[in-house]
Symmetry: D2
């Protein structure tokens, strides 16, 4: 099957390529970049020398429409201008940016600063958190691939919320991300000399992943969920660690470990660790796994959930491939079966 | 003034030396280490070549008692066996370990696993959080230097707690530390190949700094304070970032920024950042400062405080020197006036 | 095919496991560790949860001899005590340590400090630098897998040496390694706080890889080769960068680029970069590739070759698997076809 | 004494500020930046909050000429356009960029791409390698502060060259720098995600510090010196490690250790380590020291010298302050006496 990638010069594009060159069912037949058109992909990403011989090309409908499925790895606001014509041409689309994550165009405009270019598609678009929306994804033409923080946070909170055990109005997500989450942008604060040997919070006043998480959790449990969301920049390349706090509504004993294990017992990519564990981000590096541990310190009212993913894989390109596998009827694990890289 | 250091082969000992060799009022006349006795200090810490000519020596009372003040930079449980005779010999003592931080010997035994060797001194010992206990420190013979996390957490929570604005039973401290906080111990999980490019929580079930923080906050506000404390290991050498969550008890508007600025307006080492700021750990690297920012996201019920220190300075050796300065009537800033190191 | 690993708790053992769990032709049926016997492998290496269900076991002949091929990922000096009986039992053996790299038992004793336990096997043992000794490896029972530095250095120098273009008595190899090259040992100088934000040379007076490189190059060109070898520790987990200096013996023009491209034109794992390139270690991370660039600065007498590998893959476990593939008649690339991980 | 800094938004400017705010003899009265004029310096460099209250200003002659001494921390090619009028106004000038390092304007043009704006000053300008040109610096109006690599390389080679012991035509400098050497520029290849966990050589075909090193060494020994210079980018913030190779011209025994110790016996900032040592870059972090070790592996013909500095201190701002101290008759160590930061 031929697939295309629009906007292949960032880290999510590079990661898509890394995964797809080993995927048993697909061939990357086109990868576009206005800025790098004509340049061999392997010149920009030397790890791909010997794995991919194509050059970046201009993103034209003619070329793209020959693919069965198109990944958008573009900045926010780009996909929404091109998706309608690609759908019309019969392509399936997975957007790794935020254009098709939020269902309400007003919320989109508020957080992304411009009006949505195709609000009529928002209802059709499926939110691609695979473990939650697998059935809709199977029949989707258009998938909005979740953000990295929202993936780790939602997978961590869902078992508790669905049981109705916690106060869904007082959730806290204290999240930490490696620097690749900020993309391959030449910004001063992402320089090694600024971001290494340093730790800081950012966007405490408001982050775009906050409405996405609230929407996702609320939809799944049919209740308005509220949370405080504080992201932090961590001096490493890959990895997200979400530390989640949820106040129990009940006072009695409850087997949290069992609830989590049951909830994810059939999910290959979600691993509930044994009681008392502390998942490490490196235990999922370069893989599509999410590892979760659940704690109740001092047997108090507050549940603490630890959830880790690789932000570029389960938090971006890996989940996009998982979505593709589901949409196209492939083995859901195809291309995603390599063990994480440690050390 | 002659000072001595017992147990000078760890990071807090090395940091004490680095600070004290430039201190205008003191001379390090003895530094002990059973394992390295006879070896020049600069062989172990090559940064000190040209700054310190002495060798490690055996920790004997005869040698130590010639110093006016002794710093213990030993593992937990060592200082308490030697402090009584040093006090009797007329020395002042600052313990950088935990032996004199907790006032209740039963709590000490519970968390540190052995009975306290001199419980009769616990009442006299002053908890050396300088900004809180400055007056008692002035007249103290024996100071228990605070833990690194407790310093960052208490300085962050105190202004809010003292105003009675928040529910003191539902505090959360999500803290992140550089690896030097774990000491200079040859443990597998502290290896570069294990700890770099990795992020994890640890000791979620219970950490020794938890009772210390509760004791300190409770004592200051005369109420039992409870909190959830989750520490994390961050892939960098120095720095602590505490992200603190406190639910407001009131619903009306309150000028949090003003409260924090007023509270610390006379404190050289505590810097309240402008509204909307996110302090970075590197902004205090190699210095005795604590920088704090206070947020109220979406104007909701939860206050979020960000507090950063260098764990080896304000979180250990620097605060110990600050304590010495107060105890000995020196300028409180002596030896601690160099600007932080950035980048 | 069943394979076993002796000594699976270090980084080369972990890396063997990571590669072998995805290998299409083999099954890891036993992995031994005296210290961890009975413990699930995934408890020590959490990245393998879901990929490998076996426990560490005691290294007994009975268990091991049921495998067709045994990898030794043990410290130097262990394999030589067990290999004779395994060969006698019909197993093939690949030793990732140094026991079967040097052909002269006196040289071995000089550099490794103990007498060789089975000098009679040294002649039979094949030095497993695949690109050099492929034919002998095909028929080998016993392979000494090359050291990490020797792999990068020899692949870099060989094209020049074989052409007789450079003075083989005045070679210099200035090499830089990530910290994983020192193994998973709890040593102070490998701690994150000691090895990160730091760069140093070590073993300038003499390193065990020096005689190995000299032996390998001399054997290949049938001349005594001499070199100066200076290794350095670099603050990163994986990667070796060898910067090689070779003085030209001739004065005329010579097409170095062409010589290198011709030499490696049929080698999948050795990639000669375009003229003027500077290979990055991350371009081969987690892969079995070696990337090489050749320079002649200011058109002078000195050739500068840059050669990079991942020390744990082409420098250890990957080359061991490549050797197994050759010995067992598998596709030489089997299990080694994933693209390098970047970023 | 009032000093000014032109171009204070890069790392050398920031480092100058960090050092000068603690300098006992000077006050930074002006710091200019066209881009940031009007902004408090501490907004850009939060480490300086509480240490420096001034704002960036426009670089006008009127303001600058009120300073006795001006540091240029601007990109190459800026200082040469402003220095003549500042000298005319009676200011002393130290340029931390390359404008006054090379004596031959043609060489300057070749390597920096533009004609020199004030070639008439090149003869007067003193090359500010303090240990070499101390006497001229004392009487200089204009100092060209050396590059970072040239400082580490020249201090390492000089004792050998001055003794005439080595072939001055076949020197090699294999140098490794932390990323701050590339400045505070928002370039993709300096991002944490590109530069960490990575090692690479660069500019092997030719680097601007090559003619500077050749000029400096040749001038000191009155002979044309030639060398091969290969710089590498190392995944850390600060530090340069130069590994230097020099072939002995003589065959007899020579006490290299003694030669180095004698040569630098009166130099506070140059430390010759004991025989067999390997200096670490962190042993000089945040300090103005250069630490050197000299080796003769296997007692062969090649001498290996290891030389480390902090590129931002002895390699830039620290040496500039040392130059100022010499020019102005201050204690040469003033402002530069803090012990290096370790860990």
């Amino acid at each position: 099957m031929k697939v295309g990638i629009v906007g292949g010069t960032g880290y999510t594009g590079a990661e898509l390529l890394r995964i797809l060159v080993s995927h048993p069912e697909v061939e990357v037949s086109v990868i576009t970049s206005r800025g790098e058109a004509g340049k061999p992909v392997a010149d920009l990403f030397p790890n791909l020398r010997g794995y991919l011989d194509i050059c970046f090309s201009e993103p034209t409908l003619e070329v793209l429409s020959q693919c069965e499925l198109i990944f958008f790895a573009t900045p926010n606001g780009v996909a929404m201008t091109q998706v309608p014509e690609l759908l019309a041409a019969g392509c399936k689309v997975i957007d790794l940016a935020a254009d098709f994550r939020l269902q309400d165009p007003d919320v989109w405009k508020h957080w992304y600063g411009i009006a949505h270019a195709c609000p009529e598609l928002l209802e059709e678009a499926v939110y691609g958190l695979c473990e939650v929306n697998r059935e809709q994804i199977k029949h989707a033409r258009l998938v909005g691939n979740p953000g990295c923080y929202p993936t780790a946070v939602q997978l961590g909170f869902l078992p508790l919320l669905e049981q109705g055990l916690v106060d869904e109005q007082r959730l806290i997500a204290d999240t930490k991300s490696g620097v690749s989450g900020a993309g391959r942008n030449a910004k001063t604060d992402l320089l090694l000399c600024e971001a290494s040997e340093n730790f800081k919070a950012y966007a405490v006043a408001g982050h775009r992943h906050w409405p996405e998480i609230k929407q996702g959790l609320s939809a799944k449990v049919n209740k308005a969920v509220d949370l405080t969301f504080v992201p932090h920049l961590t001096p490493m390349i890959r990895g997200i660690h979400a530390t989640l706090y949820a106040p129990l509504k009940i006072n009695e004993a409850v087997n949290l470990q069992d609830i989590y294990q049951q909830y994810y017992k059939n999910e290959f990519f979600v691993d509930v660790l044994p009681e008392g564990s502390h998942p490490e981000t490196r235990s999922v590096r370069a893989s599509n796994h999410c590892r979760i541990a659940v704690h109740r310190p001092h047997n108090g009212e507050l549940v603490v959930i630890l959830s880790v993913i690789d932000n570029l894989v389960k938090g971006a390109a890996g989940q996009a491939v998982q979505n593709m596998n589901i949409m196209c009827g492939f083995d859901e694990r195809a291309g995603l079966t390599n063990a994480p890289l440690l050390p």
